[in-house]
């Protein structure tokens, strides 16, 4: 104990410490407790990777998709890549990056590889672990442009329809996202969600004036471009691919939720808009049959 790490910090000169004082500090810690066990409800380490998503325990048990587009996109993509995983209902507070989804690799992975994977790194992780896919070249300008179209126009319309249409917000979003045991916290969460959706929309609208007509019209033209793209390429999937890829999963994550959520009848403009494009509805059906519907069939048969 005599060569204590005082020498390692070069800023302070080494001062000889009187023996009684050194002995006193050496006595600490007086008692070291064993590590606290994890709460009983914490998930057991499983061999299957776990994807943390916005969902309810019942939905996860029934193998139903998440109600959040970002989570649903990755759920779908993992399924398409043939990766066995389990979905776990969670909230943003659990994520290392502050937003869902994130993936915890299975216990079988080596120590270095068992770190949580955030959504930004999921593509690489899937490439390392899933079956080799023939996805479109990610630097294809058309793919990049259409991805932006989804991330801006359709996402804006989705945010507006869900959070800023009061009818939908009260019947859908509050039930999905603001379900803690404390009513006051729920109120606060609801305010926070609405406010952040509003701020998100204002980022591209410098006047901070949101016009539902413009937002829905933009989404309509985006859907129409997507429908034309799919029709022009002639195949079942976008960009003429033989198998659905990440872009199909992204489109599906919006179209599935827009088509299936129980929107308020008086505020279902987005759903009516999408219903006009049969080819996108058919695309959603095909992809659903290939992922969640098949998964459920498998579960019920086993």
């Amino acid at each position: 104990m005599s060569e204590t790490p005082t020498a390692s910090t070069s800023i302070f000169p080494t001062i000889p410490i009187p023996q009684p004082i050194r002995r006193f500090f050496d006595a600490f810690p007086l008692l070291t407790l064993p590590p606290t066990p994890l709460p009983a409800r914490s998930p057991a380490a499983s061999n299957v990777p776990s994807l943390y998503v916005f969902s309810t325990p019942e939905n996860v048990a029934a193998g139903k998709p998440s109600f959040n587009p970002a989570c649903l996109k990755w759920q779908t993509y993992l399924m398409l890549s043939g990766i066995e995983f389990q979905s776990i209902p969670s909230s943003n507070h659990a994520s290392p990056s502050g937003s869902l989804p994130f993936l915890r690799p299975g216990a079988a992975e080596s120590n270095e590889q068992s770190k949580p994977v955030t959504s930004a790194h999921l593509v690489q992780w899937v490439k390392d672990h899933g079956k080799p896919s023939q996805d479109v070249d990610p630097s294809n300008p058309e793919l990049v442009a259409f991805t932006t179209l989804l991330d801006t126009r359709i996402r804006d319309a989705w945010l507006y329809a869900l959070y800023l249409e009061p009818r939908n917000f009260n019947t859908l979003a509050i039930k999905q996202y603001c379900q803690t045991a404390i009513p006051l916290v729920n109120k606060l969460l609801a305010w926070e969600y609405r406010n952040s959706a509003f701020k998100e929309l204002c980022k591209t609208r410098p006047g901070a004036v949101l016009s539902s007509i413009d937002i829905y019209a933009d989404a309509d033209s985006a859907f129409s471009s997507l429908a034309t793209l799919l029709a022009d390429q002639g195949g079942d999937w976008f960009f003429g691919a033989a198998e659905p890829g990440l872009f199909d999963a992204t489109v599906y994550s919006y179209t599935h939720l827009i088509l299936t959520l129980p929107w308020d009848r008086r505020a279902a403009t987005l759903q009516h808009t999408l219903r006009k494009y049969d080819i996108l509805v058919a695309h959603e059906r095909r992809l659903h049959a290939l992922t969640f519907a098949r998964d459920r069939r498998k579960k019920s048969s086993s």
Partner: protein, 465 residues
């Protein structure tokens, strides 16, 4: 200010603008179908479109990418003389509080996609608007990826513009002073900080710390720390000097390379995507004529390339890509006209270039004090002449002027006078009615606290009966 209250002034401007444009472009007049004596001035065109934009910046017609794109799109799709571009630089004009905004009679279109779709709608109903300098004129179906590329260019290009114009420490003062030249009084101080904070919010989302210190090699802090020491310095002195400079700017010096790498990645992702999409074609979607995506591209790329800024990292990144630079130069000369030299001439609507500039109605104190925003009956009260007298020139010009128009003017004057008397009568009736009510309810007697309750109760009872 609601648009309706501005009508008297803008109507006048409409009139002048149409006449002027008709003189220049007689072809548009011959298309009008109504037979009309030749000595009469042409009908006020029903389709006088006004595009309100932010004013010029360093030779470009506008400081804002979307405004540039809108100007270019109107140049592409509409015949000359059917619209004016007004560098009002006043976002409060538009219902969405943002520019560009296209005004057509009482209708306002405030985003680039909505402007484009409205113009397509107009052209499908009116053939006079279809005679554009470009053959496609909105009739040929634009490729399905137009929307996608327009959105891509405007969204990602905006990030680069945020970086080079607002978030860069050396560049922002220049941009701010440009805004203060073009904006009206209160806005010249309020608008730039608002735009800055919006830009910073967008950039922070990308994970880049703002503001960004100077990145140009000549003035960067890392470079200054590596400056050669004076010749007389011993090696020890030189080392001390370097160490001192390094520790002084350690934080910035450590951060600068990382920031530079992030920025280079951002720029090359965007510009390389565009360049590979362009390949060796003349337009971005490989069409014969420019599309909306080309207009968006010329808006964003010319703001990256042309302005002369203290820290020119955006222009340097652009110049690395020869094909894109050639593409921007080509589009700029075709769609944005000659460089704008006199900003004030543009605001007065006197600049003569390919872009039909209109006179700016400034929304500042001077404009407020002139009282043109006040409705005509109210203006009567303030003693400001409510009847916009026709210009002297106009009177002289049309000596044997059409009796039709004179009759209309007289009728309008009578209507205005009637309106004035109407409002006077309304106010008089209101005042008399209120006085009557006071007497009837007994409130006239109410002076001090105690009686108030009784009187009010009495009033209530009285009304109940």
């Amino acid at each position: 200010m609601p648009s309706a209250t501005r009508c008297p002034t803008t109507d006048r401007k409409y009139f002048g603008g149409v006449r002027e444009s008709a003189n220049h472009h007689t072809t548009t007049i011959t298309i009008t179908t109504t037979p009309r004596p030749s000595f009469l001035p042409p009908h006020p065109q029903p389709h006088m479109l006004e595009l309100h934009v932010y004013g010029p910046f360093q030779g470009l017609p506008s400081i804002d990418a979307q405004c540039l794109a809108a100007i270019a799109y109107l140049q592409v799709t509409l015949p000359r003389g059917s619209y004016t571009v007004i560098a009002s630089s006043n976002p409060w004009l538009s219902p969405s509080r943002s520019l560009p905004a296209l005004r057509h009679n009482t209708r306002w279109l405030t985003t680039l996609p909505s402007i484009a779709s409205y113009l397509a709608h107009l052209q499908s109903t009116d053939t006079t608007l279809s005679a554009s300098p470009f053959s496609f004129a909105g009739r040929a179906p634009s490729p399905p990826s137009t929307d996608a590329f327009t959105t891509y260019i405007l969204t990602h290009g905006q990030h680069l513009l945020d970086l080079s114009l607002f978030c860069s420490l050396p560049n922002y003062p220049k941009v701010r002073s440009a805004y203060s030249t073009i904006c009206g009084f209160p806005d010249r101080y309020l608008l730039p900080p608002r735009l800055l904070s919006a830009a910073e919010a967008r950039i922070r989302d990308l994970g880049i710390t703002v503001p960004i210190p100077s990145l140009s090699p000549s003035s960067s802090t890392t470079a200054s720390s590596l400056d050669p020491s004076p010749p007389a310095a011993t090696p020890g002195e030189a080392a001390l000097r370097t160490a001192a400079a390094a520790s002084e700017n350690r934080k910035t010096a450590l951060k600068a390379p990382a920031t530079r790498i992030r920025l280079t990645t951002l720029f090359s992702t965007f510009l390389d995507t565009l360049e590979s999409q362009l390949s060796h074609e003349r337009h971005i979607l490989h069409t014969a004529d420019p599309t909306l995506a080309d207009c968006a591209a010329v808006g964003v790329l010319s703001l990256l390339l042309f302005p002369d800024l203290p820290d020119d990292f955006a222009a340097r990144e652009m110049r690395k890509r020869r094909r894109l630079v050639a593409y921007v130069h080509d589009l700029r000369t075709r769609l944005l006209g000659a460089p704008v030299l006199d900003v004030l001439a543009v605001m007065r609507g006197e600049e003569r270039s390919a872009i039909p500039w209109g006179r700016v109605e400034r929304g500042d104190w001077e404009w407020l004090l002139r009282g043109e925003w006040i409705d005509s009956p109210l203006r009567g009260w303030f003693g400001i002449n409510p009847v916009p007298e026709p210009d002297e020139d106009e009177e002289r010009e049309g000596e044997e002027e059409d009796w039709e128009e004179r009759k209309m003017r007289r009728r309008a004057r009578v209507a205005r006078r009637r309106q004035w008397w109407g409002s006077v009568a309304t106010i008089a009736v209101g005042v008399v009615g209120f006085a009557g009510f006071l007497v009837w309810s007994g409130m006239g007697r109410v002076v001090t606290g105690e009686t108030v309750v009784e009187v009010e109760q009495g009033g209530v009872r009285g009304r109940g009966n």
